[in-house]
């Protein structure tokens, strides 16, 4: 009985691990946008006199 309860709790813990693939993708898209715009402005600044 005790063992069954324990394994149920473990199962719950495993299930609670969130899937963050969507959040990860969104963060990387925002990050790339920031890097590309920053680099664009920096290159423009260096090319102009």
């Amino acid at each position: 009985m005790a063992q069954t309860q324990k394994s149920e709790i473990q199962d719950e813990k495993v299930e609670k691990e969130p899937t963050l693939l969507g959040a990860f993708t969104a963060v990387m898209i925002v990050g790339l946008f920031i890097i590309i715009t920053w680099a664009g402005v920096f290159i423009l600044f260096n090319q102009r006199f």
């Binding site: 691990e17 969130p18 963050l20 693939l21 959040a23 990860f24 963060v27 990387m28 990050g31 920031i34 890097i35 920053w38 920096f42 600044f45 102009r48 006199f49």
Partner: protein, 159 residues
């Protein structure tokens, strides 16, 4: 503390980006010498015409400096002195400017030259003119009824 693998990745990514950005800014400020165009030099705005180098606005060849020419501009409502200037292609120029009355702008559209001229302050910008052609200098700070007519012209010519 338990952290998700993705959280670790995006935190490292964010911190690394920040370090790269700040390093680039640091190198550009301390190694390449970029700084605000007005940062240390002041002038009595009522004595501009009597104060060197503003007593003779225009282009002056200099020797023994990091730049080849000094280009002195005096702004006042609603004109720049000089109103037109010719500069040899490829020369390094230090633009030195101030205003005699109100706040004026000093912008060469399409370039990095974009400064605010405030009474009592001298602005400076060092640049190498490596594009031939005519460049407009205009006032981009509203200074009065003649603001829209306040321009000057820089001609970069092959010597």
């Amino acid at each position: 503390m338990h952290m998700h693998k993705f959280e670790k990745i995006w935190l490292i990514f964010g911190v690394a980006s920040l370090i790269v950005f700040l390093s680039v800014l640091g190198v550009s400020a301390f190694h390449q010498g970029h700084h605000p165009s007005s940062w240390s030099n002041i002038i009595d705005p009522e004595q501009v015409d009597e104060t060197k180098p503003f007593d003779e606005p225009g282009l002056k060849k200099v020797e023994g400096k990091e730049w080849d020419y000094e280009l002195v501009f005096v702004a006042s409502a609603f004109l720049y002195a000089p109103s037109e200037v010719q500069i040899p292609l490829g020369s390094t120029v230090k633009i030195i400017a101030t205003t005699k009355d109100v706040i004026h702008g000093f912008q060469i559209p399409g370039s990095n030259v974009n400064m605010m001229l405030e009474p009592g302050y001298i602005v400076e910008y060092i640049t190498t003119l490596n594009q031939p052609g005519e460049f407009l200098v205009l006032c981009n700070e509203y200074c009065g009824v003649g603001h829209h007519m306040m321009t000057s012209k820089i001609e970069v010519v092959e010597s």
